[in-house]
Symmetry: C2
Subunit: 419 residues, 2 copies
């Protein structure tokens, strides 16, 4: 392993690394013996160290050649750190307000040094479990989605720049394959990794594996995921990849990034909000029925899509004479036609987002990796009730996504199922 210049760090060797790396040392001040270092990797894949020095702080993230939460028995290329670093840089350039700055990247060591997103920031998923409202969340995430997706699509890029970026991110194939497996395949077959709240959901899990129409639809989404290089997507934009305060929203962890369908990011975020919604009844005990909070989640779902729609089409209008070659101004030269093509584009994107969002929900209930929203509901029967509603909603969404015309119809369907 040393042969390729890679060493897994621990808290001690990390100090030596920091000392020897000027761009990181400069952030921390000179007293290296007084550094405060804490490994906080609560994620599934990597090691994350918070480093606090006398005059500043940073985070160091290192990828090891396997999946952390499973161990060396599930190998995974550490090259993912390269795609995470370049995506943080690219998305950070396009949307600096919502992406942590990269201070340093070491490709051999698969190591990223980046801004420490300080407390009171917490992981959004934890905030949603705690019932905390984030009034700017939809505004911020829609901004992040609109800017990162628009500017890396053919609406803005030339074919030449687009194809060269597509080629580069084809290199992140191992992470794409992992998504293919855990999102689009395992939940629909018997797999040693699958789990669910047993015995309550045994029949539901089996029903997923026996549902021909569901499998037909998920195959089409999988094809789109594998074949359609629409924009540089984050690739893992669930509520555990977002850190928040009431004023600030920061997107981390784009190691699954590649040129894929935009709806996969939008759907991941909205799908995880829907999971949070259906989990609320499981958190409703002590003093609050979470009724108002559920309304806030619904509003945030609506606002996220509607603001995204507005911002994305505004970027399109603003850049319609820009470098993008998809809709040449000499052809799409009248306002009526411009409106028509945008409506069609956004309608397709909406249906993609619902489909991918639903697929991401299903896999969190009957697949390998579950979400704390449900896992933190101790009483199994209560958890199963929540999960079962979410699963049923996801199945409907996946199969009937093209019958929904706007996000408020989706929200109404959620309320209806929740009655």
């Amino acid at each position: 392993m040393a042969s390729d210049g890679f060493r897994p760090l621990d808290e001690k060797s990390l100090v030596e690394y920091l000392k020897a790396t000027p761009s990181l040392a400069a952030k921390l001040g000179s007293q290296f013996d007084k550094l405060e270092i804490k490994e906080v990797g609560d994620g599934n894949l990597n090691f994350v160290y918070i480093v606090i020095g006398s005059s500043g702080s940073l985070v160091v993230k290192q990828a090891l050649p396997y999946i952390r939460c499973i161990g060396e028995s599930w190998p995974m290329t550490k090259e993912r750190a390269y795609f995470e670093a370049t995506t943080l840089q690219e998305h950070g350039r396009l949307c600096p307000a919502h992406v942590p700055e990269v201070y340093h990247f070491d490709r051999e060591m698969c190591l990223i040094g980046m801004r420490y997103i300080e407390p009171p920031h917490i992981i959004l998923r934890k905030g949603l479990i705690a019932g905390i409202e984030y009034p700017l969340l939809a505004e911020h995430i829609s901004e992040y989605l609109a800017r990162t997706l628009f500017y890396t699509s053919l609406l803005y890029l030339t074919t030449t720049d687009h194809k060269s970026a597509v080629a580069k991110y084809c290199g992140n194939v191992e992470l794409c394959r992992l998504t293919e497996q855990v999102v689009f395949s395992d939940p629909y077959k018997v797999s040693e990794y699958n789990r669910w709240t047993t015995p309550y959901l045994d029949a539901d899990a089996e029903a997923v594996r026996e549902d021909n129409i569901l499998k037909l639809e998920v195959a089409q989404l999988k094809s789109k995921f594998c074949e359609r290089a629409q924009a540089l997507i984050h690739g893992d934009l669930h509520t555990g990849s977002v850190m928040v305060t009431p004023d600030s929203t920061q997107v981390i962890d784009p190691e699954f990034a590649f040129y894929g369908p935009m709806g996969f990011d939008i759907g991941a975020f909205i799908g995880n909000l829907i999971l949070a919604y259906f989990a609320q009844d499981g958190h409703a005990d002590k003093g609050t029925d979470r009724k108002l909070y559920k309304e806030w989640i619904l509003k945030t779902i609506s606002d996220t899509w509607n603001l995204f729609y507005r911002k994305f089409t505004a970027l399109w209008d603003k850049n319609k004479d820009g470098p993008g070659e998809a809709y040449l101004p000499a052809i799409y030269n009248n306002p009526e036609l411009q409106l028509l093509v945008q409506q069609k584009y956004m309608e397709d994107l909406f249906h993609d987002s619902l489909g991918f969002g639903a697929a991401k929900m299903i896999r969190r209930i009957v697949g390998v990796a579950h979400v704390e929203d449900f896992e933190s509901i101790n009483e199994a029967s209560k958890r199963a009730d929540c999960e079962s509603k979410a699963l049923n909603f996801a199945k409907t969404l996946l199969k009937e996504r093209k019958k929904f015309h706007n996000i408020s119809e989706v929200v109404h369907a959620m309320e209806h199922l929740d009655k």
Copy 2:
């Protein structure tokens, strides 16, 4: 230019090149002073030499850094020869019966040595103009399409192999851009390169530029062309890229190859047969009304799609436990579901093929590059009548492609319009 090892050859320097290249020299025999050499490049882009020696023959094709039929004022990467050579090799491996063997490839010289497809082979387009029936054409082309498209798609390849091939062919971006321009853009706007049979088609050409629904639909096809890496497609599969005898069908000239939508190849071929059909009335004079020949073209269109359907799904069935990761056997494990997913896949592919075919027809009537099928009709008003029917049919096909359920409905619509 010499700096990168590239020299444009002429008939004289070609002889020296052949002498110095064992893999080519070996095909020809030793009497180099008696070689018969003829430049026959009737195509638009490159130089093609037929070389006949004392004990064998071959063809040499060289790409120059511009588009031959326009000249040095329209530069075009000569790297296209690399993508043509690798595609000939890859498609040749998958379907040796219908692709000429590559004897030699010289990347610096952008030069391919390949099998001479000997007389009585002629270019299919010329045969269609002459009214010659090719009873095996549909059988052969459907075989070529089914094998090359199936085996380079995710129905057969692993994600890993697919993404690595996609990345490589992203390098053929200049040729993709040329297609984007001449097929999906120029016909829908005022462009110096466009031409049509004037004054007869002036209003028709303008109507294409003013048709909002047509432009909406063509934008979606263009996105699919740019974004969807479905299989290694030929990229230029018109009837001028096929050489035929009644017994043999050979596909040449895949310099536009890349990972794109399968429907672009199927559509190119069928669309050019439809052009041939509507051109027949212009060739009907001397002694024959071409009525029976038109019926043969219609039958060939039907047979091409129907045989393709049968062969492609047969390959799918045969390889359903193979390396392909799109439809895992553990999920798509019952015959009913297998049928369902195939029907959906083929339905989408059918509509893609009709859309791309229609776009290729339109561009041949109001865009830069026309087809001999129409160009050889001397009388302008008669030519315009033929072109106008073809154009109207193409517009309907493009806009209403999803209303067609099978190829016989397409054929009936052609007959109906032709009355």
